[in-house]
């Protein structure tokens, strides 16, 4: 079916999200809580657009609004720009330390905050991606606690999470770099928990935590041979295929 985005005719499949259609047609809509692997939060609201349907305008999030009619979409109307700017202003007051949010702030010309009491030292925008990522790994080590303005992401009892395997998936998906992951002297520290890294028995590089290796081995029933990093495993599989 045909839809119009910012005046451009686009071909869309029934049920496809506006964001996908826009992307395919080279129209950029900013996002924070959306990744292709973990869609469906709808929490940051940065990707809002105006949809015109049956003569009526409504504001929806493009990452989750399915195309079911021949609609017209405005990704950059005055209203959307004004509200997006406000959302960035709110996020910047919440997470002033995040580099990414600072960049958005510049891009959308949000002035320096003079009215709100900006949160000190915060980077997290509570998008929820980290929790989803950890669930996807199959670990469930962290979750969001409390509600309303006291909501936060935290391991149980705010202690280093017992179940965490140090895989770093949460840190990787976090759009604002809010989860600290440090590596030094063969160790990885995340969520205030220290993990021992293991070396690849072929190339000798540190590549994962012992806990993650054990977790994956158990989950996928791998044979307990040597430790192989991704690169070397691929190489060895390829070699096995050749010979």
């Amino acid at each position: 079916m045909k839809i119009k985005i910012d005046g451009l005719e686009c071909e869309a499949n029934y049920g496809e999200y506006i964001l996908e259609v826009a992307k395919r047609n080279g129209i950029h809509i900013p996002t924070l809580c959306h990744t292709d692997a973990l869609p469906g939060q709808g929490s940051c609201r940065l990707c809002i657009v105006e949809v015109i349907e049956g003569g009526k305008n409504k504001v929806v999030v493009s990452c989750l609004y399915p195309v079911t009619n021949e609609i017209e979409v405005l990704t950059n109307s005055d209203k959307i720009r004004r509200m997006r700017k406000n959302i960035i202003r709110l996020l910047a007051a919440r997470a002033p330390e995040s580099e990414h949010i600072r960049k958005l702030k510049e891009e959308y010309k949000v002035p320096e905050e003079k009215r709100f009491n900006v949160d000190k030292g915060e980077k997290c925008i509570l998008c929820g991606l980290c929790v989803r990522a950890c669930e996807a790994v199959g670990v469930y080590a962290i979750s969001s606690v409390n509600r309303g303005i006291t909501k936060k992401i935290s391991p149980p009892f705010e202690e280093p999470p017992e179940d965490c395997i140090g895989c770093g998936a949460c840190a990787q998906v976090c759009p604002t770099g809010a989860i600290a992951l440090k590596e030094f002297e063969g160790k990885r520290v995340i969520w205030d928990k220290t993990f021992e890294l293991v070396k690849c028995s072929v190339c000798g590089n540190y590549f994962t935590t012992r806990e993650q290796y054990e977790f994956l081995k158990q989950k996928y029933g791998l044979e307990a041979e040597e430790f192989l990093c991704d690169k070397c495993r691929k190489k060895s599989t390829a070699q096995k295929l050749v010979f």
């Binding site: 939060q41 940051c44 999030v61 509200m83 709110l90 309303g148």
Partner: protein, 608 residues
Amino acid sequence: MVEDNMPDKKTVLICCGTGCLANNSYEIYRELKKRVEAAGEDISVKPVLKTTGCNGLCEKGPVITILPEDIFYCKVKISDVDEIFEKTLLKGEIIERLLYLDIKTGKKVKSHKESEFFKRQKKIALRNIGQIDPANIEDYIQRGGYRALKKALFEMSPDEIINEVEKSGLRGRGGAGFPTGYKWKQAKKINSFPKYVICNGDEGDPGAFMDRSVMEGDPHSIIEGMIIGAYAVGAQKGFVYIRDEYALAVKNVSRAIKDAYGRGFLGENILGSGFNLDIEIVRGGGAFVCGESTALMASIEGRVGEPRVKYIRSTEKGLWGQPTVLNNVETWANVPVIVDRGAKWFSSIGTEKSKGTKVFSLVGKVNNTGLIEVPMGVTLREIIFDIGGGIPGGKKFKAVQTGGPSGGCIPESLLDLPVDFDSLDKAGSMMGSGGMIVMDESNCMVEVARYYLKFLSEESCGKCTPCREGIRRMLEILEDICAGKGREEDIKLLLELAETVREASLCGLGKTAPNPVLTTIKYFKDEYLAHIKEKRCPAGVCKELTSYRINQELCKRCGVCAKKCPAGAIFSKPKSPYVIDNNKCIVCGACREACRFNAIEVMGRREG
């Protein structure tokens, strides 16, 4: 079924709703029962004693009604039991002291139904409450209960039922006023099974108790409605989602479900019709937001009660991704009456686009507080001044807040507004579930907005940015204004944030959260300006912006204020009027309350 169906036999109805129970109504029932039993042969006609659900007059509780004379007693104490037995039950004498005082006329009335408070009401959803023992299915049946179910199962097709509900014009009573018949039609259309029906009994609005009263006082009306709805859309499983604190509602609904199974109204092959339905109770998740439809379904599924986007309707993909009809308690309770008496009758009540009646909990600065049920279209003035009996203490009306925490404040100039879904919306407020809080001149409207935003900031689930961060920043600004730290540009900023919160939030909570701020700015902007520019709280509520002064001409030197002042801040020299020492005054307002000559004036922030 709506008309009163009074027994000829002498019956004493003792309210045992949550409010009256808290004031020992069950002990009153037990004592009276003891007396009646002990009397044995002494009385010619032994009265039947029944415990009923909440009559909606909790403030006047415990209340009891004696039939067939329809004598209504309020604020009954255990010590009154003997007298009631001796005088009223044995001799038919009326005890003046316990009668209901009609504020409007200043007279005591024998039956509360003679009072202005009741005369203007029309009971459909509350038809049985206070008249029956909710634990006794026979009582319900005797008043026409389950007649509609039989009609639906044996005389109507599912489509005919849906048509009837659609034609009746019934709109959801849980908040948004969505047309019920249309919702059912959508769910019926989808060819995917299983389907579900849910009753929303979460009632998270602080101070509201409409739904609690129906669940406690007439649970079968909800169950009958749900069976009819389930049959119409093809659902075989239903859930009643009840707010966790509502222990008595849970008890009474459980009992009703059990008895309905016992009578063949639930379970397999209902009344031999071939239709099956099971209903079970789910206890609420304990948060205001759990009443929101998608959060509620998540909670039933055992997940965190957080809303999700609903670009696809629940009637298509609801509970566990299956077609689901979710309706409010009051909506369901209306259904049997519509099926029984027909769409034509129902739609003759109300306004063009809002049919039937609506239950409100009328509270705040109004003489008669309680649950009321009125036809749609009565004016706010009628509700507040005729039914509610006006404002106590001769004070001036200022605003009425409708629609729960995220409703709006409606000013005096709109008092003649006919109350229905659309006109309240147009005024910037909403029907919501039916909370109605009356405010007088002693309420500060900026403080009112702050109060509701505080509630919403705590009750927001915190998932999406505009709601979580936007409400928080709006609250921050309102707190500043109330503390005398407001800035000139604050009103503009509040309006701008309000737009983003309203339009970009994920669920209904955020989408409506700015209402208290928007309406108070719209109708009471002068109060905002007084706070911001003059550093003065006209109502004398915001402590940082209030000081008191004794008007030397009005002061009669009675000295009451000085006696009442807990801080010892009021003194006088012989023969001269009293004065307040602003350095000692803690701005509690006790003097102002106490002064009978209105001599204590509200001033701006104290100097220095």
